[in-house]
């Protein structure tokens, strides 16, 4: 429907470009101090037999292929010693009303060796996501959101950076490169900054929380979603682990 409105605007000769006003990174509320000093930590495990990731045919992109010494594979399910990486963890319930403190730095995603790194990244609504190209060749970055405004931009040279922001919470926005059909990444857009992505060792930490009981949801691109509850004391730390089955 939004497209229709764009069109209707045009009928009135209005160049109503950035109608959504999505240029600002700061939403006006002063970068508030953390709401607390508690944190949730945990580890994402993987049980069962680990699926093999498909090999990538990078023969026609020698500049990328050299960056993968033992043959590039598509890192869909990354399991190391039974621990699962690239899981997106966020708080979905139990938080006090905002405004929430904003991350002080921009989130970043790099294109290196014709793969996205990291593959899964979270941003707060309005926070800048810096998309960088470290390869000496063309990548295009196409975002296909359902709630936010999509884009399709290109980075023909190494060293280019394009900042982008999102205005509406959305789990997850897929990014793709159409020059390299295997390149996929996922951006989680959350209304607050209480989210994390599991590291190679499966670990994650969400800090700066006030005391309380929280519902936590986790997401993986092929293994689905799970959720759990956890209570933290003031200035304390609580543990919440998840396990995805094979």
């Amino acid at each position: 429907m939004r497209r229709f409105w764009v069109a209707s605007c045009l009928f009135a000769f209005l160049a109503c470009g950035g109608g959504d006003g999505d240029s600002g990174g700061s939403s006006g509320a002063a970068a508030a101090a953390p709401l607390g000093n508690s944190s949730i930590t945990g580890v994402i495990s993987f049980a069962g037999s680990v699926p093999t990731n498909p090999a990538i045919d990078m023969a026609e992109e020698p500049d990328c292929a050299v960056k993968h010494s033992d043959g590039p594979t598509d890192p869909i399910v990354v399991v190391t010693d039974g621990k699962l990486a690239n899981v997106f963890i966020r708080i979905v319930g139990g938080l006090p009303d905002g405004p929430y403190p904003e991350p002080s730095e921009a989130a970043a995603i790099d294109q290196n060796g014709c793969l996205y790194s990291p593959r899964v990244v979270g941003v707060m609504v309005g926070q800048t996501l810096e998309i960088t190209n470290s390869d000496p060749l063309l990548h295009n970055i196409k975002a296909v959101p359902t709630e936010n405004r999509g884009f399709n931009i290109s980075q023909p040279r190494a060293g280019m950076t394009s900042p982008r922001t999102f205005n509406t919470p959305e789990i997850m926005i897929p990014l793709e490169c159409n020059v390299h059909g295997w390149m996929n990444a996922y951006v989680g857009v959350v209304e607050h900054s209480y989210f994390a992505t599991s590291a190679v060792d499966g670990s994650f930490t969400i800090g700066g929380l006030p005391a309380g009981t929280y519902q936590v949801a986790v997401w993986h691109e092929t293994l689905g979603t799970q959720s759990g509850d956890v209570t933290v004391e003031a200035d304390g730390s609580a543990t919440l682990n998840f396990t995805f089955g094979g």
């Binding site: 045919d57 023969a59 026609e60 063309l138 295009n140 399709n152 159409n178 020059v179 059909g181």
Partner: protein, 224 residues
């Protein structure tokens, strides 16, 4: 600057290049006649004081000549072209012994699907390579172009072959390479911001090398 076509490496090159040179000679003659004529007239009939132009309104004879000569020439070019066109793109032009490939064309990749050892497309032993087309020399091949998003155009300059891949249409194009070697494939139809880099390679093997490559490849595919 050169009006010579680059070397061709398919069976089409002979016919197309011949037609091209025929047209080049004919248009070259017309070009010289007109340009030299204009230049001569411009100098010879430039205004000089006391002279008056000759009052001529036209000549039926001249009109007939310069209607008929271009018309006949053009129709002859048309008829010569028609035969070659039918041979290359005609409905039934694809030789029965052509090796079929499925080509899934998308922004901005050419994905070539090969029939596996069973010699059949659409079976489990098919395998797909990105931006690489391996073919044997002196054997017709048939590409089934399947566009998945927008219009692209399969273009191999050395083979003098170009065919749009159109979403929703089944389009087959064939050719027969005559020289072993590597050639570039380009996308010739504007297809988006990566259009300029939608390139791939054809690798033309000798018949034996092709068989060798195919069985190596299938063995590798089995291991995976």
């Amino acid at each position: 600057m050169s009006w010579i076509l680059p070397p061709g490496a398919s069976t089409f090159a002979g016919d197309i290049d011949f037609l091209y040179y025929v047209i080049l000679v004919i248009t070259g003659i017309a070009f010289v006649v007109v340009e030299v004529g204009l230049l001569v007239f411009a100098i010879k009939y430039r205004a000089r004081p006391g002279r008056k132009a000759q009052y001529i309104q036209g000549s039926i004879k001249a009109e007939i000549i310069w209607t008929a000569v271009p018309a006949v020439t053009l129709v002859i070019i048309g008829l010569m072209s028609g035969g070659v066109w039918n041979h290359i793109k005609g409905r039934n032009s694809i030789p029965p012994n052509a090796i079929p490939y499925e080509v899934h064309v998308k922004q901005f990749e050419w994905n070539f699907t090969y029939r596996g050892p069973d010699g059949q497309l659409g079976t489990a032993d098919d395998f797909t390579l990105r931006n690489q087309l391996h073919i044997p020399v002196n054997r017709p091949v048939e590409l089934q172009l399947i566009a998945e998003d927008v219009i692209h155009s399969f273009f191999v300059p050395a083979f003098r072959v170009k065919q749009d891949a159109v979403p929703g249409m089944d389009i087959n194009v064939w050719f027969e390479a005559t020289e072993v070697g590597e050639y570039e494939i380009a996308c010739a139809e504007l297809c988006g911001l990566g259009h300029y880099r939608m390139r791939a390679r054809v690798i033309v093997h000798s018949a034996e090398d092709y068989q060798q490559w195919l069985s190596d490849r299938s063995a590798a595919a089995d291991e995976e």
